[in-house]
């Protein structure tokens, strides 16, 4: 800790994406022979920091010092050269190639201008052994391996590059418990070999077991660094909290009033492909229910499951108390069900960008405004006018490409397209991501207005403020299961983060057990 020069220092790192500050004067100091955990909620700046360190993006300000010397990385390859290797959460393996091919892919050993298969085999076997996975055959194709084994191959691939600093970004999220234990052993051995490990995880128990140092990020800035084990879970959560409330939310009705009516949508023990586990929930007309938790815990899959996109769904979905089988978005929007999904990525799943505003607005309702297969233009115009007025869509005309609109107005078009059908059940997948504050507030008002007129709203957001401000209830997902339900006044940032991290808010006792 008191070494004169840390292996790695990042000083005053700032990074903006458009108008959004991802990092603001962030500092980080990492010593050789230690495991350094990085904590923070969604959007705290963790992933931007990792991207900068591994050369994927450049910082706007600040400097990176390696062994006390300033370095800049123009590309991931340059960072690798300097000994910084990242095991990405998004797999970077090529499925059709063998394990050995993948391990040496960045720099295959060569003889006479051709790949030296013997040397490649040796490197692969060595790297696999170091990663604690000597049982994986170097000739096996990556696509034939289960996800958890692929993640181990990913680690072996990183080790084959002889890193001095190894970054593990949610590297255990796809692993089975047995594999996690192996990865831990590997991490500890690498630490004893003098490597520095940067460990990003949302699993507090892992951090407790592994980390030597911890740094907490909030709003793009490092707010605290401490030796592992010197802070309770409660204190850690307090450090992660503390965003300014910048949004204005509409008033909520008295809690509980909506849930007295019969549920319009009910799920019983939904499960799917190892990504959703035994999810049960009810949704009543007039209420706004939030889905919380860290990103990628099955929220998106849950919405897709309701909307008929997933095949091989286990469990039951009930509409108005009757079991239904929804096998496509077309079936989900049909009259008896009346469901709408505002998708996550408006550019690919929400809009046909080169087509006009008019065409995009009426896409979901074409079946209602066609007679004998011909679109009734007058009727279409009427519906469109209503929507443009209701949502205050600002556009230079209805016949310009929707791609020419601002992000906020594009999102309004996506919402309008579905509201045109007057859906009873509205599913929203992080609908305010990347849009301006003004439009966000309009969307909050609209959601409440829709609920007041009897719609049932299921709303996934990565922004905790939104969940607190908009929702009557919040279901927090963790690892594909509902971890906790927060109702009314229970919906606080503290409770959201604690349950998102899958720890009890009163985690003091667990902490002391570990320290003992």
């Amino acid at each position: 800790m008191d070494d004169a020069v840390p292996l790695l220092r990042m000083e005053g790192i700032s990074k903006r994406y458009g108008g959004v500050k991802a990092l603001e004067k962030a500092d980080l100091s990492v010593n050789a022979g230690s495991i350094h955990a990085i904590l923070g909620e969604n959007g705290a700046g963790k992933s931007t920091l990792i991207k900068i360190l591994s050369g994927v993006v450049g910082p706007d300000e600040g400097r990176i010092l390696l062994d006390g010397r300033e370095v800049t990385f123009a590309s991931p390859a340059a960072a690798n050269q300097a000994g910084i290797v990242c095991v990405f959460q998004e797999l970077s393996l090529v499925p059709e190639l063998s394990v050995a091919d993948n391990i040496v892919i960045s720099d295959p050993p060569q003889r006479f201008g051709m790949i030296d298969h013997k040397a490649q085999r040796r490197i692969a076997e060595e790297a696999l052994a170091r990663a604690g996975a000597a049982d994986i055959h170097p000739r096996a194709l990556v696509k034939d391996l289960p996800l958890s084994r692929r993640q181990i191959v990913e680690i072996a691939k990183a080790l084959a590059r002889k890193p001095r600093i190894l970054i593990l970004d949610e590297a255990t999220s796809a692993l089975t418990a047995a594999d996690v234990a192996k990865v831990f052993d590997v991490c500890k051995r690498l630490r004893s070999e003098g490597l520095a490990l940067l460990y990003i995880s949302h699993r507090m128990n892992e951090i407790r077991e592994l980390a030597d140092e911890c740094t907490v990020f909030r709003n793009g800035h490092n707010v605290a660094s401490y030796r592992a084990g010197t802070r309770s879970d409660d204190e850690v959560i307090e450090m992660m909290i503390g965003r300014q409330y910048s949004h204005v939310f509409p008033a909520k009705p008295d809690s509980g009033s909506a849930s007295k009516s019969a549920p319009v949508l009910e799920a019983r023990s939904l499960s799917w492909a190892g990504r959703l586990h035994d999810i049960s929930l009810t949704l009543h007309p007039g209420e706004v229910v939030g889905l919380g938790g860290l990103d990628g815990q099955g929220q998106r899959e849950l919405l897709l499951a309701f909307f008929g996109v997933l095949r091989g769904l286990g469990g039951q979905v009930l509409i108005d108390g009757k079991t239904v089988s929804i096998d496509s978005p077309a079936a989900a929007r049909a009259a008896g069900i009346g469901m709408a999904l505002i998708p996550e990525d408006r550019k690919t799943e929400g809009l046909m960008l080169p087509m006009t505003v008019r065409e995009n607005l009426s896409f979901a309702s074409l079946d209602r405004i066609t007679k004998a297969g011909i679109v009734d233009r007058d009727q279409e115009q009427e519906l469109i006018d209503d929507m443009v007025r209701l949502l205050a869509i600002k556009t230079a005309g209805l016949d310009i490409p929707v791609g020419a609109l601002s992000g906020g107005n594009q999102q309004k078009v996506v919402i309008a397209k579905w509201l045109m059908r007057q859906p009873r059940i509205i599913l929203l997948n992080d609908p305010t991501r990347g849009i301006d504050v003004g439009t966000k507030q309009e969307i909050y008002q609209l959601l409440r207005k829709l609920a007041d007129t009897g719609a049932a709203i299921l709303f996934y957001s990565t922004d905790y403020d939104e969940l607190i401000g908009c929702c009557d209830r919040v279901l927090v997902l963790y690892d594909g299961a509902v971890r906790r339900e927060l109702v009314g006044a229970e919906i606080t940032e503290h409770a959201l983060i604690a349950s998102a991290l899958n720890i009890e808010a009163e985690g003091q006792s667990a902490m002391q057990e570990v320290n003992a």
Partner: protein
């Protein structure tokens, strides 16, 4: 799993194509009036080798998850060029051959440049370049004609020691000189990686652009070998539009039968060679079983359709319907 099992798994497509070919060829020769003789084999080899070259050319592009619809036209163009240049003294002939191969490489390079640096879809880019290649071929040979160094042609299309077809030996030599080094080079692996998961390959620092470019250029080279051989067989050059299109189509069939995935990243040119030989034998089988020649195109079309359909079975396993559109 045992070591050899991995080898079998890797070569499954190639071994299967080899098996299909051997079976069909056995049926063919056992029903042929002349039986399994050197002459029957030679004729079959000479016909098969042409498609084999074009199929190898197609393989290189398909591995990168592209498709080359101009490959038959490169074949026709180089045939026309060869009928003008591969004549005269041994020195002139050698220079002529070199020129033909350079033309092929340039055609491939043009395709590669448009697809990789121009970011056009391979299917659109190569339809357009194919039309251009045919146009040039027609200017060179408005009417069938030209000539070729006949001594060389007879040697390369005859039999070595009176038994082994020379064309097969040459095919083998080119496999060893072009395909095997490419397969084992860093660029070759890059081409496979780019075809399988381009983003992952990019993130791993693989030189995907250079790898794909090399694949397109070598594809042009192999198609030019095909054009050269066509000239050796026919002694003439002809800007035959139908023939160029047929070769493109058959090369796709050969590639699929040969176990090369149209989604990219998997397969071998050696498999495609067996695929080509098998596809050729299908036509011959119709002949020995006295089915009219008029049936042949329909039959080949059905085989092609069945072969490409087999590649779509993976879609039934997808559990998130959104992945259909990726």
């Amino acid at each position: 799993m045992k070591e050899w099992r991995y080898w079998v798994a890797e070569q499954r497509g190639t071994l299967l194509a080899c098996g299909i070919f051997l079976l069909m060829f056995a049926i063919y020769t056992s029903n042929h009036p002349a039986g399994f003789t050197a002459n029957v084999v030679e004729t079959a080899a000479n016909k098969g080798v042409l498609l084999a070259f074009v199929a190898m050319a197609q393989t290189l592009v398909v591995i990168t998850a592209g498709i080359d619809l101009s490959v038959g036209m490169i074949f026709v163009l180089t045939n026309c060029v060869a009928s003008a240049l591969v004549v005269g003294t041994p020195m002139q002939t050698a220079l002529g051959i070199l020129a033909v191969l350079v033309v092929g490489v340039l055609c491939g390079a043009l395709n590669g440049a448009i697809v990789i640096y121009g970011r056009l879809q391979p299917i659109v880019a190569t339809i357009a370049t194919g039309a251009v290649f045919f146009g040039i071929a027609l200017l060179i040979r408005p009417f069938p004609g030209g000539s070729v160094n006949e001594d060389l042609a007879d040697t390369l299309t005859g039999k070595i020691f009176g038994v082994v077809p020379a064309s097969l030996v040459l095919l083998l030599v080119i496999v060893l000189l072009v395909w095997v080094p490419f397969r084992r080079s860093v660029l070759g692996r890059g081409a496979y990686a780019a075809g399988s998961a381009e983003a992952a390959a990019y993130m791993s620092g693989v030189p995907i652009r250079r790898a794909k470019f090399a694949a397109y250029m070598l594809s042009g080279l192999l198609a030019a070998f095909g054009g050269l051989f066509l000239t050796f067989f026919t002694y003439t050059g002809e800007a035959a539009y139908a023939s160029g299109n047929a070769y493109t189509l058959f090369s796709i069939a050969a590639v699929v039968i040969g176990g090369v995935s149209l989604y990219g990243g998997r397969g071998s040119a050696i498999g495609a060679i067996f695929g080509a030989l098998a596809f050729r034998t299908i036509g011959d089988l119709l002949f020995v079983f006295d089915l009219g020649a008029l049936w042949q195109p329909l039959f080949q079309g059905v085989i092609l359709l069945v072969a490409v359909s087999l590649g779509a079975f993976g879609l039934f396993r997808i559990r998130n319907r959104l992945e259909w559109f990726l």
